[in-house]
């Protein structure tokens, strides 16, 4: 698979939003390859540390030549410092665009993809910045229902240490779990859920995991597990936004019906109708779309 990221020699000056305002054709990112990601990370590391080694080596040479008090040595030291700052500024500039990229993906996916394409072409990037960019790409692909690619991206990204972006790991695993469930790939969903259970989660992440786990249990036919601690699950569901609360009630109602607990099922279904519109209920229930 060709590395389209290095084939495109676009103008590096100006940020991505200026490129878009100039009316440039929106760029699509080619399909994901873990090999390309690994190569990009390796190239970033080589550029960053290689530059540092070269500059430090030059300074070491000057020291060895007993030039430590000379102007050349001083300028070399300053150059090393400024060079290291310049390398970091590239990552800082991209990191500043991350919220804008995330918002664009939600509102205008094509624009979001173009911004991502711009960001991914920058070099060298810090490892965590590039991995977060791929996280955003996974979200974009999920919106585009390219689930195979989402799985590839998430599995690849979580295999690396995320450094300062370690807090993103639960979000990646939640996305991975949901994608496996959309694909009806239950073993993958199970593995991803196991990994989630090993991580400390925030309240909102815990609620999302609960929803995905309930969905998995129903798809896998584990109705008893879905019904375990149902009162507590209902209380947790009440903390979710209305639509998700309703979806959770629909799933629990289905599990209750399949567990021959019709009274509970009716009660949960009546509650679900108070949280969801008819259309939302049909989306969750009528198609068996758990």
């Amino acid at each position: 698979m060709s590395d389209a990221h290095t084939d495109n020699h676009t103008d590096d000056h100006g940020d991505a939003s200026q490129d878009t305002r100039a009316g440039e054709h929106l760029v699509n990112i080619p399909p994901f390859s873990p090999y390309i990601l690994g190569r990009q990370l390796w190239t970033d590391a080589l550029l960053r540390w290689g530059a540092l080694v070269v500059l430090a080596g030059a300074l070491g040479y000057l020291l060895a030549m007993e030039q430590q008090g000379s102007l050349v040595y001083s300028l070399g030291a300053v150059g090393l410092i400024m060079g290291w700052i310049a390398l970091g500024l590239i990552s800082a500039r991209v990191a500043r665009q991350l919220p804008h990229i995330a918002a664009s993906i939600e509102i205008e996916p094509d624009e979001g993809e173009h911004l991502l394409s711009w960001a991914l072409k920058r070099r060298p990037l810090m490892r965590w910045v590039r991995l977060v960019l791929y996280h955003r790409l996974a979200v974009l692909r999920h919106h585009q229902r390219r689930y195979g690619e989402v799985v590839g991206i998430c599995e690849a990204v979580v295999s690396y240490p995320l450094g300062p972006a370690e807090d993103s790991r639960p979000s990646l695993l939640l996305l991975l779990t949901e994608t496996y469930l959309e694909m009806r790939h239950l073993p993958g969903a199970y593995t991803a859920l196991l990994r989630l259970h090993a991580l400390p989660l925030s309240l909102i992440e815990s609620l999302q995991r609960l929803t995905l786990q309930t969905r998995y249990e129903i798809l896998a036919g584990h109705y008893a597990a879905a019904m375990a601690n149902v009162n507590q699950k209902v209380q947790m569901a009440e903390l979710m936004p209305a639509h998700q609360c309703g979806a959770m009630h629909v799933m629990l109602a289905a599990a209750a019906r399949l567990s021959k607990r019709d009274d509970l099922s009716n009660h949960l279904w009546q509650r679900a109708k108070l949280f969801c519109t008819r259309k939302q209920l049909e989306q969750v229930w009528g198609l068996g779309n758990f």
């Binding site: 008090g69 700052i85 300062p164 009440e238 979710m240 209305a242 108070l274 519109t277």
Partner: protein
């Protein structure tokens, strides 16, 4: 601890909250703190040029090391403050309002360096005060949010809608009416959102507090759908509509009582009766019809 020994809760007054927010107003990082890393690096460069001997070689590197440690600590502090703010929001979500209020009160002085986190903490404070029925102090918090957010921002509109409800609950009927009037136009664009649902609840509270029961009944057809985005909190709206049918002077009192009973039963599917009566004491009369 029995009821006799339980200390009575005395939250902050409106004046105390105003003073606390003013004393700990957000100011971001001081200018010298923002420029400190760059200044130290420039100093390192200058030292490399002017200081001779082994100190001239070593000092710049020590300074660079110091800058890296400073940036690392600053990043860790920012992440710690973010985590602490998230934990406040989680406590409020779990309805531990007193604890969330206390922690956010204590955390606010440390959040002056981050205006966004500061706003989130004030949001938690205002919400908790509202739920703990310290309405005058809650209004101070909501006013702060409205002043410091863009006028059309969803959080600002939500704060305004909740401010209206708090004003009505505190018997500031004119104030509440004014706030609801200001929200009429923006709400037209926000149908089916939690903000619009909060506004609708505010209108219902206004109808009840001003005794306009028949007006509320006349608008009741879409109420269920309008309150749906509130999730379980829609129960308050259903209960207030039950109260309107209970008190409303309608031609067919038997049908009115039946409607009141239906709305009250729906409300109790969402929230316990005691919780709703605690929030709106006038609902206590509905205990007769259940």
């Amino acid at each position: 601890m029995n009821q006799a020994n339980k200390p009575s809760w005395s939250g902050p007054t409106a004046g105390q909250l105003a003073e606390h927010i003013q004393r700990h107003a957000p100011r971001g990082l001081p200018w010298w703190s923002t420029w400190l890393p760059l200044l130290l690096l420039v100093l390192a460069g200058v030292l490399a040029m002017v200081v001779a001997g082994p100190w001239g070689a070593a000092l710049p590197w020590l300074l660079m090391g110091g800058v890296f440690i400073l940036l690392l600590q600053r990043g860790q502090l920012a992440r710690r403050l973010e985590r602490n703010t998230i934990s406040l929001q989680e406590l409020a979500m779990l309805r531990n309002f007193a604890q969330a209020l206390r922690k956010s009160w204590l955390l606010l002085p440390r959040l002056v360096v981050n205006p966004m986190l500061h706003l989130r903490a004030v949001t938690v404070i205002a919400h908790c005060l509202d739920q703990l029925k310290a309405f005058d102090a809650a209004i101070v918090g909501y006013d702060y949010l409205v002043e410091h957010l863009p006028p059309e921002h969803p959080t600002a509109l939500q704060a305004k809608a909740q401010r209206a409800i708090a004003s009505l609950c505190a018997d500031h009927l004119v104030d509440g009416d004014d706030t609801l009037r200001q929200l009429r136009q923006p709400m037209a664009q926000l149908a089916d959102t939690p903000v619009a649902a909060t506004y609708r609840l505010g209108q219902l509270v206004q109808n009840v507090r001003t005794g306009h029961y028949t007006d509320a009944i006349a608008d009741s057809e879409q109420l269920c759908a309008q309150l749906r985005p509130l999730g379980v909190d829609a129960g308050y709206g259903h209960a207030l509509m039950a109260l309107c049918y209970y008190h409303g002077r309608l031609d067919d009192q038997n049908a009115a009582r039946a409607s009141a009973s239906r709305w009250w039963q729906t409300a109790r599917m969402l929230l316990p009766g005691s919780v709703m009566v605690d929030r709106f004491p006038e609902l206590a009369v509905l205990g007769e019809i259940s």
